[in-house]
């Protein structure tokens, strides 16, 4: 019986091709819009997630802050209030995975006839792990390099490309501030960070070397920033608190005195960025769904017209034994077929235009099986929802009235 009804629905759709096509167009546009919006929204989410994963997870930075000594007030531009011993003490705290004191600044690098200004980061080996840096060529420096302040450097991909061009950088000597440094490794590429800065445009050297040879700080062992990685996201708030009390104790800050440092939860910032894109993605989908709704109303409209036009046919069918259920099924099937066919075309067009957007703008797009399934399900749902009222109207016609209808 179902195959007969499908055949009839097909005939009915073919009877007025232009009208069927226009009705379908509403669904095509609706589904197409949902698919492309979801592809763009999920693409944005994916891009943000990628960036977050390159940043390193569960990160906290402790920055040296303002302090007042003998009436001299100073912000973070003054003498740094943090030191390596603070970092070593933090490493002992419960829930802390990695601690890396860092000192960074911009310096010019020279290799042969090339030069390149970049961010130079002086730090300790745990930094690499906490920021999720990998070494693609060569090896990392060790704690003993930090202790003896060796002049070794790890360079980012952008630096390698600009300074060494075609040469293999590993084992080569470059100059930072007139000091020769041996490149011992090239860092794996991470791309842009959330602010759009190129994370690969960097050089990492041992902290002690940076302070003695590159930045020449008068406060040896003092740092402006300590990078802390917690063992888990759950441990992060606890770690933040215990760092605060540890530092207040170590810095001998009395009750009522302000902190001479700041802590900043990088992961929280990243999370809120992810949340923003998620919200945007949902919003895009919601706006696109409105066109799906409009498409559904179009189906309902045309089905109502169709029921009126085919009143006599309905009467004939009832006279030869169609039950209400049969008539209902027939018209519902027709509405669902229109919406599914429209949905299918919409999916194809939506995916094609998403790919086009990707090709033309380089925007990241993600077409997930789930979003395709959702679009299909919603379209079928729209067909049932908006097809039900006209179909019920048809099924509840009085056979005598319907037969008499001209």
């Amino acid at each position: 019986m179902l195959n007969a009804m499908l055949g009839e629905a097909w005939l009915a759709m073919g009877a007025n091709r232009l009208r069927t096509a226009l009705t379908m167009l509403g669904m095509v546009i609706g589904v197409g819009a949902v698919v492309i919006m979801m592809a763009i929204g999920q693409g944005a989410q994916y891009a943000v997630q990628q960036t977050i994963s390159t940043m390193g997870s569960n990160l906290l930075i402790v920055l040296s802050g303002s302090f007042t000594a003998s009436g001299v007030r100073s912000g973070s531009a003054g003498a740094p209030s943090l030191n390596v011993a603070d970092a070593e003490a933090m490493a002992e705290l419960d829930g802390v995975a990695n601690v890396a004191p860092t000192h960074q600044g911009t310096r010019q690098l020279v290799y042969g006839s090339q030069n390149w200004s970049t961010q130079v980061v002086g730090t300790t080996p745990p930094y690499l792990e906490s920021r999720a840096w990998s070494i693609v060529n060569g090896a990392a420096f060790s704690d003993s390099d930090v202790r003896s302040a060796t002049r070794v450097a790890l360079i980012g991909k952008t630096v390698a490309e600009n300074l060494f061009v075609d040469d293999d950088p590993v084992g080569k000597t470059m100059r930072i501030q007139q000091n020769p440094f041996i490149v011992i490794g090239v860092l794996g590429s991470k791309g842009q960070n959330l602010d759009g800065r190129d994370q690969d445009d960097t050089v990492i050297i041992p902290l002690s070397t940076a302070q003695r040879k590159v930045f020449g700080t008068p406060f040896l062992g003092s740092v402006r920033m300590i990078m802390v990685q917690a063992e888990s996201a759950e441990a992060l708030p606890r770690v933040e608190k215990s760092i605060e009390s540890l530092l207040r104790q170590r810095h001998r800050l009395r009750e009522g005195m302000p902190n001479d440092f700041f802590t900043r939860n990088l992961s929280a910032a990243a999370e809120s960025e992810a949340e923003t894109t998620r919200t945007m993605s949902i919003l895009l989908g919601a706006i696109a769904s409105i066109s799906l709704l409009v498409g559904g109303i179009g189906i309902m409209n045309i089905m109502l017209v169709s029921v009126t036009e085919r009143t006599r046919e309905i009467g004939i069918r009832m006279a030869i034994g169609a039950r209400e259920k049969d008539i209902l099924t027939q018209f519902l099937l027709e509405a669902i077929m229109i919406s599914i066919a429209g949905c299918f075309i919409g999916l194809v067009l939506g995916i094609a235009s998403a790919l086009l957007v990707n090709a033309v703008t380089n925007m990241v797009i993600v077409i997930s099986g789930a979003s395709v399934l959702v679009a299909f399900g919603v379209a079928a749902g729209v067909g049932v929802f908006f097809g039900y009222y006209p179909a019920r109207k048809a099924a509840q016609l009085d056979p005598i009235e319907a037969l008499r209808y001209q």
């Binding site: 007969a4 009915a12 006279a319 037969l403």
Partner: protein
């Protein structure tokens, strides 16, 4: 009387109108036996159409009982009535009422769709019936391709396809010329000779004369019920 195809007792039907309750049918009693060929006559407004709708299970009576094939169907629900229309009755209308988008074969097979037959059964039964009314060669044509008389023969084939207890024909020749009307009436005569019970509604006396029994309606009541010997000869 237990084996009557149709037995109606005190059948009445009233309609709500602006002027109040209008009794279209007032206490009709009638028994139709298997194999009968009966014409229901009367001017418009006589209640014959209302009676036909009740006999055809398209409507339910206000009062009285209607035994179809021994079973009281006066107060069955819509689905049960639909089943009776599908399996026990066969309709033939004045306007042929074929579905224009379907081939003749599909038109004839349509009652079988609602009876739940398989595609194979539908095709075979429709072929047999189309052959029976002499239109087997047009099985794959659309109704618009054949003449009115041929369309009515297809409609008769459709009415017969579920082997019903009786055929209800409502002004079957109303849209046909006299020559084609004769053809259709000959077909009905032939079917009746094979034992099929036929109820014919008409206002034309010469059409009614083909039937073996004439029942005349006036003002919602039966005013005459007579057998005619003429056609049998």
């Amino acid at each position: 009387m237990g084996d009557a195809v149709i037995r109606v007792v005190g059948l009445g039907k009233s309609y709500e109108t602006a002027a109040g309750l209008f009794p279209a049918l007032r206490g009709v009693d009638l028994t139709i036996l298997p194999g009968e060929y009966i014409a229901i006559m009367g001017p418009s407004g006589s209640g014959k159409s209302t009676f036909m709708n009740l006999l055809g299970c398209l409507d339910t009576p206000t009062c009285g009982d209607y035994f179809l094939d021994g079973r009281n169907v006066a107060h069955l629900d819509k689905d049960a009535l639909a089943k009776l229309r599908n399996l026990t009755l066969g309709f033939v209308f004045q306007g042929f009422n074929l579905l224009p988008r379907m081939t003749l074969q599909d038109n004839v097979a349509l009652p079988l769709v609602y009876a739940g037959s398989s595609q194979q059964e539908r095709r075979e039964a429709a072929r047999v019936m189309l052959d029976k009314v002499g239109l087997g060669q047009y099985a794959d044509s659309l109704p618009a391709r054949i003449s009115g008389g041929q369309q009515q023969r297809v409609a008769i084939a459709r009415a017969l396809v579920n082997n019903p207890q009786l055929i209800l024909a409502d002004e079957p020749t109303g849209n046909l010329d006299s020559h084609t009307s004769e053809e259709i009436m000959r077909l009905f005569g032939k079917l009746n000779a094979e034992g099929i019970t036929i109820v014919l509604v008409t206002h034309e006396p010469d059409i009614a004369a083909h039937a073996k029994r004439q029942v005349r309606f006036l003002d919602g009541q039966i005013v005459s019920d007579q057998l005619s010997g003429t056609i049998r000869a």
